[in-house]
């Protein structure tokens, strides 16, 4: 490290400011009185009754605050749309190794990862994980293929965009169905089932499937656009 360059006067002044800020923040936050009773406690109380989902975080993400998740998915969509716009897909893959060992390894790993991803999605209401995590795992499987298969492998654009589009629409339609069937948007419209079983949690399962599908499509697309970046 070149000390002279790193420790310029300006840098030192900024460091002083930042440390003052941090210290003041610390001084306030160290004496923080946490709320005795919070929304989360409320959720834990009614979770079993209203969702029958074994994973309380999942019920929050998909049911109590399903709208936030819809927003999150939209943001992901938006930024990956932006990535696709700014980095148009080229034909050349950045990683072209032609390594047979890797090739075989990935061929074996790919279905396993897909399966694992589907498992994580489907068990989102029972164990840690869910649509988002599972979706990324599935996309990871495709990423591995990009890394090994070189220029030849590409996603079928139509399939990706359709699954992305339909899953997003499905999420919204599910929300709107709540208005038609129940009395408000994003409400439970399916039987809740029993806590701890695969088919429980009502709409939670469905929402996570949609989210998983959408996230996997989007992240795969992101991976493809980054890996096959067109040289402008």
């Amino acid at each position: 490290m070149n000390l002279k360059r790193t420790l310029r006067v300006e840098t030192l002044l900024v460091a002083l400011l930042v440390s003052v800020t941090t210290l003041v923040l610390m001084q306030i936050l160290l004496n923080l009185h946490l709320a005795g009773h919070s929304l989360g406690d409320e959720i834990l109380h009614i979770n079993a009754a209203s969702t029958q989902s074994a994973n309380a975080v999942t019920s929050v993400v998909t049911y109590f605050r399903g709208l936030d998740t819809l927003g999150e998915v939209s943001i992901l969509f938006l930024s990956i749309f932006g990535v696709a716009l700014h980095m148009p897909r080229g034909s050349k893959n950045l990683f072209s190794y032609h390594n047979t060992l890797l090739y075989i390894g990935v061929s074996i790993l790919f279905p396993l990862m897909l399966l694992f991803g589907v498992y994580v999605i489907l068990h989102g209401h029972l164990s840690p994980g869910g649509g988002f995590q599972g979706g990324v795992i599935i996309a990871g499987a495709f990423l591995l293929r990009f890394l090994t298969y070189g220029d030849h492998y590409e996603l079928k654009e139509r399939v990706v965009s359709l699954s992305e589009s339909l899953s997003g629409a499905g999420f919204i339609v599910l929300g709107l169905l709540g208005l038609l069937v129940g009395d408000r948007i994003f409400t439970q419209i399916l039987p809740l089932g029993t806590l701890g079983e695969l088919l429980s949690g009502g709409v939670i399962e469905l929402i996570y499937i949609f989210v998983g599908l959408k996230v996997s499509a989007e992240i795969s697309l992101l991976a493809e656009h980054f890996v096959k970046a067109h040289n402008v």
Binding site: T22, L44, A54, G71, I75, H86, M87
Partner: protein
């Protein structure tokens, strides 16, 4: 051994936040700046999740013999859900930002924030 973990978590995560903020303010490389933002966000997450954790409390998941949801022995699920959402948003923003930086680099040949002078009165 400590009264509570919270002061430590608060102090160290704020320190990380400060370091990241310093990076945002003094580093001239756009890539570095986006990295620093990610670190700053992570520091906030650690602060938030850490402050909602009390040793001994379990994850809010009914499994492994736990069948009843009770705030007395489970941590608050809401912050976790919030952070989950925020992490995704954070990475989405970073990806978009980096794609812009890459494109900008290809257009101009640099990615230094102090050399970005395309805009202004004279242009």
């Amino acid at each position: 051994m400590f009264d509570s973990l919270h002061p430590l978590i608060t102090m160290i995560s704020l320190a990380i936040f400060g370091v990241a903020l310093l990076g945002v303010l003094v580093k001239k490389n756009l890539f570095k700046i986006f990295l620093a933002f990610s670190v700053a966000e992570s520091a906030l997450f650690l602060f938030f999740i850490g402050n909602h954790y009390t040793p001994g409390l379990k994850a809010p998941i009914a499994a492994d013999g736990i069948t009843r949801f009770d705030p007395a022995f489970m941590v608050d699920p809401l912050p976790q859900a919030m952070i989950l959402t925020t992490i995704v948003i954070g990475i989405a923003v970073s990806a978009l930002g980096l794609s812009m930086v890459i494109r900008y680099y290809k257009l101009t040949g640099h990615m230094r924030i102090d050399k970005m002078d395309e805009l202004g009165e004279e242009q």
